[in-house]
C-alpha cells in the first residue's frame, strides 16, 4: 500500500513536471484523494488583518481595513465553485447603553423612560460571502454568535412586542451610524483558496481591542476558525488631549480657559486702535 502510494506519487511528480502548472491542481486533488476515513473537513483557514493597530489622529475620517486569508487543503477544483463560505465577525469592546423613545406629552416631544442594554458591542460587523442564513442554519449561527438576529444584548426581549420594537430600533440606529454592519457580499474568493474582505470603520469607532474571527464553512458546517484582533487607539495630539481630559480634568479645564484668555488678549492687542 505504502509503496504503491510512493510510486503513484513519483509518477505524478514526473507528470507534473512534464505538463507544467496545469497539473498542479490535479496533484493536489490526488493528494487529498486517498480514501482514508478522515473527518469530512480537514481544511484549515488562516487569516490576517491589513492594519492591526489603528491610530486615530487629527486627520482621521474613518478607515477601511482588509481582512484576508486562505483555505489550506482546499479541495475545490475551480475558482468560485461555491463549496466554501467565509464569515468574518469584527467585534469591538462592549459599551452599556440606554435607548430612549420620544413621546408626545402636552404637545411637545419628550424622552420617555429608557431601556438599558448591558452588552452592546461598540462596533460589530458581519462580513460574508453570501447571506449568512444561506450559509449555515440559524442554530449554528446562534451558537457561534454570528449575526444580529439572535444577538444577546444583555436584555431579555423575547416575547414582548414593545421590547422587540426597541431592540430593532437600536439595531437600526447603530446601522445608520455604521457601527453595526451586516454585509453579505463583502468577502470574495480569489482563486481556489485565497479570500479577502473589507470593512470600513467609521469616524466614530470606539477605542479599544477588537476581535476578528474568521469562520470557514463547508456545506453548512463549520470547518475551521481563525482568530485575530486589532487595536484602535488615539495617537499623537488626540491621545494627549484625550488622556488629559479624562485623567487630569481640572488641569485640562484650566488649559482650555488659559488658551481662551490668551486668544482674547492677542485679539484685543492685534486690533487695538492706538
Amino acid at each position: 500500500m505504502l509503496t504503491a502510494l510512493r510510486i503513484s506519487a513519483a509518477v505524478l511528480l514526473a507528470l507534473s513536471v512534464a505538463f507544467g502548472l496545469s497539473t498542479t491542481v490535479a496533484l493536489a486533488q490526488k493528494k487529498a484523494a486517498p480514501p482514508v476515513e478522515e473527518p469530512a473537513s480537514q481544511e484549515q483557514v488562516q487569516s490576517d488583518i491589513s492594519t492591526r493597530d489603528i491610530a486615530i489622529q487629527s486627520n482621521f475620517t474613518g478607515i477601511e481595513i482588509l481582512i484576508f486569508g486562505s483555505v489550506d487543503f482546499s479541495d475545490s477544483r475551480t475558482p468560485g465553485e461555491g463549496r466554501y463560505d467565509v464569515i468574518t465577525v469584527v467585534r469591538g469592546p462592549n459599551e452599556p447603553i440606554v435607548l430612549r423613545k420620544k413621546e408626545r406629552v402636552a404637545g411637545i416631544w419628550i424622552n420617555g423612560p429608557g431601556k438599558s442594554y448591558s452588552t452592546v458591542p461598540g462596533f460589530y460587523a458581519v462580513l460574508s460571502t453570501r447571506p449568512v442564513r444561506a450559509i449555515a442554519s440559524d442554530q449554528t449561527l446562534k451558537e457561534l454568535g454570528i449575526g444580529l438576529a439572535d444577538f444577546n444584548f444583555g436584555r431579555a426581549t423575547v416575547g414582548s412586542p414593545q421590547e422587540q420594537a426597541y431592540r430593532s430600533a437600536m439595531i437600526r440606529l447603530k446601522k445608520q451610524k455604521k457601527l453595526f454592519q451586516e454585509r453579505d457580499d463583502a468577502v470574495k474568493f480569489i482563486g481556489r483558496s485565497l479570500f479577502r474582505g473589507t470593512v470600513a470603520l467609521p469616524v466614530n469607532v470606539p477605542i479599544g481591542r477588537y476581535s476578528v474571527d474568521v469562520y470557514l464553512f463547508r456545506d453548512g458546517a463549520l470547518a475551521s476558525k481563525s482568530q485575530g484582533s486589532l487595536e484602535v487607539n488615539k495617537a499623537g495630539l488626540e491621545e494627549i488631549v484625550y488622556k488629559l481630559a479624562f485623567r487630569r480634568p481640572f488641569l485640562y479645564g484650566l488649559l482650555g480657559v488659559l488658551i481662551a484668555v490668551l486668544a482674547g488678549l492677542a485679539g484685543w492687542y492685534a486690533f487695538r486702535r492706538d
Binding site: 423613545k101 485640562y252 488658551i259 484685543w268
Partner: protein, 308 residues
Amino acid sequence: MFQIYLPIAEISVNLLVMLGLGAAVGFLSGMFGVGGGFMLTPLLMLSGIPPAIAVATGANQIVGTSVSGTLAQWRRGNVDLRMGFVLIVGGVVGAVTGVFLLKILREVGQAGLMISLTYVAFLGVIGAMMLWESVNAMRRARAGKTVSSRRPGQHNWIHGLPFKIRFPRSRLYISAIPPLVIGGLVGLLASFLGVGGGFIMVPALIYLLRMPTNIVIGTSIFQIIFITAIVTLLHATLNFTLDIVLAVLLVIGGVIGGQFGVRAGQKLRGEQLRALLAAMVLLVALRILFDLVLKPSELFTIVPLAGV
C-alpha cells in the same frame, strides 16, 4: 482636506466651517455687545456636536471673546469692579448649581428637553420685549421726539432691602441682595445653556438696578469672563465634556470676528441694533420651539450609560 478629528466629541469636522462659525458668532457678539453663546450652542448642536459638548465648549469660547471685549470696555472706564465682584459671587453659586442640575437631568435623559425649554422661554420673552421696545423707539425717533435713554432714578421696592453697598462707578447705593440674585440666576443659565447670560444680565441691570447702560455693558462682559471660566472648569472636571480642539478653533474665529463686529456695530443706530438682535433671538427661539413641537423624524436615541 480640511477635516479635523475632535478627540472628545469623537467626530470629524471641517476646520474652515468651525473657524467660520466662531467668526460669524463673534461678529454678531461684537456688533451687539453680547457673548453670542445663545447662537453658538444651538449652531454647534445643529452641526452634529453632542449637546453636552456644545454647552461646555461654547462656554470656553465665550471666555476668549469676553476677555477682548472687557479690555475694550475697560479702556473706556465702563467696568464697575465692585458690582462685578458681587455679581460673580452670586454667579459662582448659580453656576455650580446649574452644572449639577445638568448632570442629574442627563442621567434621567431630560437634559436636552430642559435645555430647549429654557432656551425657548428666555429667548422668546427677551426677544419679544426687546423687539417691542426697539420698534417703539424707532417709531418715536421717526416722529421726531427725542428718545430718553435713562429714566430718572425712581425709588422702587429694591431700595428697601438691607445690606446696602455703595457702588461709586455706577452711582448707586443699593442692597447687595438684588445683584447677588441676578448674578446667581445668570450663572445658573450660563452653566445650563452654555451661554454667558449677557442677554439676561444687561436688561436686568438696566431695568431692575437702574445702572447706566454703558457701565452695564462693560460690567456684564467683565463678569461673564469669570462665570464662563468656572462653567468651563466645572464641565471639564465633572462631565468630561470640554473639547479643547474645537474650543481653539471657535476662539480664534470668535476673537477675530468679534473685532470686526464691534466696528460694524458702530455704524448702526442703537434701536436698529436692538431690533436686529431681537429678531435674531426670536428666530433662534422659534427654531428650537419647532423642534420640540414637530414630530421628530427619529423617535429613538441611543445614550451611553454612565458617561465614562
